[in-house]
Amino acid sequence: MSHHQVNPQLSGDAGSQARVPRLSTYVASVKQIDECVSACVSEVIISHQNLARLGTLDSLALTELATYAKACGLKTSLEWDILMCEPEFHQAVRVLKELNFENFDSIRVQDPGAYEYALNGLAVDNSSVKKLGVHFVLETGNHNLEAILKWQNYGLLNCGLPNEGSKVQNGLKSAGPIASAQSKVNLERLVLSIELTEASLTEIIANLQVEVELLGLGPILLLYTPRHLLRYQVVAPNAATLFATAECEENSHKGFRIIDNQNGTFVFHEKDYCLIDRVSALMRMNCSVLRVDLRQQDSSAVPDYLGQISEICEAEKTQVGHQLTRASEGLAEAFKASYPTKVLRCFFQANATDVLLKHLKNKNIERKDEGYLGRVVDSTKGLYTIVCLEGNNAQLRVGDRVTLVSPAGTSKEIEISSLKNIEGVQVDEVSASRNSQEGADCDLSDGHEYAVLPFVKGVLPETMVYSV
């Protein structure tokens, strides 16, 4: 498949000038909005308690905040990132139908059902939706270009009602015309996973037609469940939200931060994810938006953190074209030193989380089809070594030479000096073929057969047998 390099971040400047990513962060109060304005944050994410995983606002408070943020010149994004079974989905839709979208620029969704509804149902159900961007969060999985392109293309082909368009039946529509400026709803952004490497991100973003957002700084979500895992652990909990830290004897499982709220339980890593010292790399890959999540930090310190991050980005902006001056690096290091939570870059440089998988089982006893005859199932000292012939049409004959590969990986070549079948009869050959025992009253339903060899010293059960 061929992909075009179409990322719009650079397209306006003929692809020659990298831009500093815009900053986006979460707000839940007017004060925080003011702080965002001071720190040159361009977009705020506002979270409803029934729509967003960590949301705390009701509809009224949410709408008021959106109005205020818009008045301050900020872009506003409504967060709808919970995963939903049918009852929760219907509850969410009820909330969405009643919301005033006039002051929201976008809605960010993660459940594919929410993506579908945002694209094809929301504008039908809510007349206040006039012009809404959809931000689709692909942070869970979606680690290959093919998947990301499919999600993108679905969004581009299935944008909601044109301003004067026809009704969409049942809130669903098959592939239609590519979204235009006439659409009320447009796929605007994809939010990509923090498990992707810089190299992967660079390639993926280059092939996308919509802008990309990445987490720049914030907690690493490890587990999300709808079950309440803290609530039953405490005596008479009377708070709507519980917090905890979890420690385990297992070294790497320490300091987990846990939140149990109305939407379930969320487990976070002890450390935060941080790409603040990689802004130049983010610019090179054309990342459009950098999300900063400071909700688990002391709220009094947040303005300072936002200010520092904004300063780092500003320094990068002025350094474009002057690669040798790296003032921003010093600022980033200073920021990390002052930030109270330890930070990680995780897999940005490399993702080797599949390397250890090779060691989860003994590869020496993993069957390789070529030349495979079977495996040793019994090797009793002084009596016999028995091979279960399992390979397709596997056959052992007197005089054959075979290679024995032990579970420890050592290999030994032997010649078959004599053979018995499993009834103890001396034979010239034993075959796994179903027809080899034709006429015998044996049930060979799995096609396997046993060959009894003279005892082979040093050979253990599970040794693999291959033809030479």
Partner: protein, 506 residues
Amino acid sequence: MFKPELLSPAGSFEKMVTAISYGADAVYLAGQKYGLRSAADNFSIDEIEKAVEFAHARKAKIYVVLNSFLHDADMRDLSQFVRQCERHRVDGVIVSDLGVVSVVAQCSSIPIHLSTQASCLNEHSGQIWKKMGVKRLIFGREVSIEQAGRIKRATGLEVELFIHGSMCMAYSGNCTISNFTKGRDSNRGGCAQSCRFEYNLDISDGPSPGARALSGASSEVAVGAVNGSHGTQKRDHTFFMSSKDLMGIELIPDFVEAQIDSVKIEGRMRSPLYAGMISKIYREALDEFSDEFSAEFGAEYQQGGAQLAQRSQWVGYAQKWSDDLERLPHRDYMTGSLEQPASESSVFNEGKPESVRPTYQILAVTKKVVTKTPTARESFVLAEVRGPFSNTDEVMAVPFRGPMVSLAGLNHVSGNGNSEGSGGNGRTVGLGNALGVPLEKAKASTLVRLPYYEAAAPGQIITKLGSASAARSEKISEVVSAEPVAEADTVPATGAMGEPGLGVAQ
């Protein structure tokens, strides 16, 4: 009457044979790549070919699992593997990643089943996956039977629900603890079962832990009830992230009423004992519900209306199977979210079962039945030994249908015609080595002869019941081997039980 497909796990060729022989309508298995059970034996492409032959000869189906979240580098050989699967007439592939869905759809016409890993939970999600080419939805464990039935009707897709086995605590596919703590991608087969570990909790109703740390509060704050602002309570030695196991046998009427196309058993990492016994139990339950119980207890069932009275009668009727399920290694059972959302009681909090009954232990798997032939003077059953046992143990064979058969007292004559062997005294098993020489004890990883019994066939389980005290000790202390949580099996290290492999999800 509508009868759901019984879909069993097959972590190896042997388990595939066992599961189908004991009544599974279909099994799911993985090749050497692309699945979530890196530690399972899994299947080479030749084995997949043979598995399909074996299954199709018995009117069963083979579904191949491709449900990893693949990175670009993982995708390189995928189309070739998919084409091989199609050439070998695989009946379906189980996929969670849209990129994989796309590749499968481009290079084959194999029906695509959406893995539970994709956490499809609602109708709109079902609709979008349908447009992507999916033919069957395997719902997240949070979806109820009733909801699944509704989504089936709304989307026109086949639907599948888990009915039995270990469960992920997280929304499937939404746990990356192993990724960030162990460097093992849980969604590519590396789950370290962190949710089964024992933790010490420091719980607060105050601000977030990060904020508390900043404000000077630490984990040493006062222990006490959380009854005011910033109260903190310690909870040590808890398995707060460990889920109880799913058991849905008592809800079979609801599965039938909702027309759930396939009921799935978790556990590719589990032993052949589990693959066989669980398939047998659910086969019998599904058949008896459809063929006998519904006829006996009410026409409503045949018309698809499970009335409350009949449902409670079914629970009593199903008790015989529930008892056997209790004798398989497991954590405490629950019905998950099949009826109502899983509550706080769904947590396997203590890391050990509430009640301990003796559990079945796997001793051997029969491989070949030799009846009287010109060269074998007496009939015998050849079995590969999985766990040691002696001639005097209460050894039982598990036929594919019907009650267990005690092997004690069955006469065994050795291949040498020596009828005085250790068998035949009316109480012992009558063990012989592979060539028929009498044995007192069978050692693991050997081939032995057992006496012939009625209904003997290859692929049958040889078992015995352990003692209750042994079971208790086993359940509490057993350490599970590296077991991918996204579909595990035996009970784990810290909250362990039974056999190796009790982890979680698909």
